[in-house]
């Protein structure tokens, strides 16, 4: 690995993954674009260090989430409102209003979680196993299990209240 074409191919193939990470960690389009570019840049920086021992998507999640968390610390902006990401609005153009409402509700629930919980929730929604989540986040699998149970409880509570 290591040349520009390989890199661009990987990013093109997995751009949805980056979009999803940026959408849960930012609140407006400008921030989202900025974070997207930063993640792509960081992925390029570390592209040579990627060894085929791990799945490329696992490695990409790790870099993307670390970059997003660092970006969040730097910008020091706390989430205030929960607008729906623009590209997701266009994605939902082809769908009905019900889907749009469900999407808004989904983001509303995610944005109520803290930084680490957001990441865990994203990976959970992506259908990752506890072992995979542990490998991406650096937590141990039992810790992942405990934290996810707490997130589920928190969500349940939020859903009951809303």
């Amino acid at each position: 690995m290591g040349n520009a074409k390989d890199f661009a191919d990987v990013i093109r193939k997995h751009q949805g993954l980056i979009y999803k990470v940026t959408s849960i960690y930012t609140n407006n389009e400008q921030d989202r674009e900025d974070l997207f570019q930063e993640i792509v840049y960081q992925l390029w920086k570390y592209f040579d260090t990627f060894r085929n021992e791990a799945k490329i998507s696992t490695w990409m999640y790790r870099v993307a989430m670390n970059t997003a968390i660092t970006h969040l610390k730097k910008s020091k902006r706390s989430p205030s409102s929960v607008p729906l990401p623009e590209y997701l609005l266009s994605a939902s153009d082809t769908k009905d209003e019900v889907f749009e409402e469900r999407l808004k509700s989904l983001y509303l629930h995610i944005k109520q979680l803290n930084t680490l919980e957001k990441g865990l929730m994203l990976l959970l929604l992506e259908g990752k196993s506890y072992k995979e989540i542990a490998s991406i986040t650096g937590l141990n699998p039992s810790n992942v299990g405990t934290r996810i149970s707490r997130i589920k409880q928190k969500l349940k509570q939020n859903m009951t209240n809303s």
Binding site: G2, N3, A4, K5, F7, A8, D9, I11, R12, Q15, G16, Y19, K20, Q37, E38, V40, Y41, W44, K45, Y46, F47, D48, T49, Y87, L88, S90, A91, S92, T94, K95, F99, R102, L103, S105, L106, H109, L125, E126, G127, K152, L155, K156, M159
Partner: protein, 200 residues
């Protein structure tokens, strides 16, 4: 909304995203290169403003060079002009080289080595600039005093207020140059961490 519903919505959204992948290889590579350049644009803008100020001073000194009527003031004038032209130009050239590095051509590691070399050159230049700026202060004062007030300070004794002003300027310069050098190091240091990662 239940967790299963959240999962279903997420999955539906993921499918939509898969359908509308907008980025091409060209956009991705351009984005990466632009991001790299952007990291240095703030520094380069600051340095450009600094260089412009230096060049304006050069123009001012050149127009008034005739007022320097002794050989030692003329030497001070030439040194001042030389310093104000050479150092900012070298720094700008070095920054341009770093910023225009084609990071996508060749392996990242190879580019990083070129980058580190250039970075060290830039830091050495900055270090040299710090020491030379103290010297500049001592040659700039007599030249400016002669041009602005037509006074040869080598032949007049210093007033207490002038001594205080010089000391204050030296203290200010000490902290300002230290801050400037630290800022440079902070911006460029992350690359060395990556190099260490690559070697490990």
């Amino acid at each position: 909304m239940e967790l299963e519903e959240l999962r279903a919505t997420w999955s539906e959204m993921s499918q939509e995203l898969e359908k509308q992948k907008k980025l091409t290889n060209e956009i991705i590579l351009k984005m990466t290169q632009d991001r790299y350049r952007k990291k240095f644009s703030k520094l380069r803008n600051l340095e450009t403003v600094g260089a412009m100020i230096c060049y304006l001073w050069v123009v001012f000194f050149l127009f008034n060079f005739g007022k320097l009527d002794t050989w030692y003031l003329q030497i001070c004038g030439v040194l001042t002009i030389g310093f104000l032209i050479i150092l900012p130009t070298l720094v700008l050239k070095s920054l341009k080289k770093i910023q225009n590095l084609d990071i996508l051509n060749g392996s990242y590691k190879k580019n990083l080595v070129i980058y580190i070399k250039e970075k060290n050159r830039l830091l050495k230049l900055q270090q040299m600039g710090i020491y030379l700026s103290y010297l500049l202060l001592f040659i700039l004062v007599p030249v400016s005093t002669k041009i602005i007030s037509n006074k040869n300070i080598f032949l007049t004794s210093f007033k207490p207020l002038q001594v205080i002003a010089l000391v204050v300027a030296l203290i200010f310069m000490f902290f300002f140059t230290r801050w400037g050098y630290k800022s440079y190091k902070k911006i460029t240091n992350s690359a060395e961490d990556i190099l260490r990662d690559l070697d490990s």
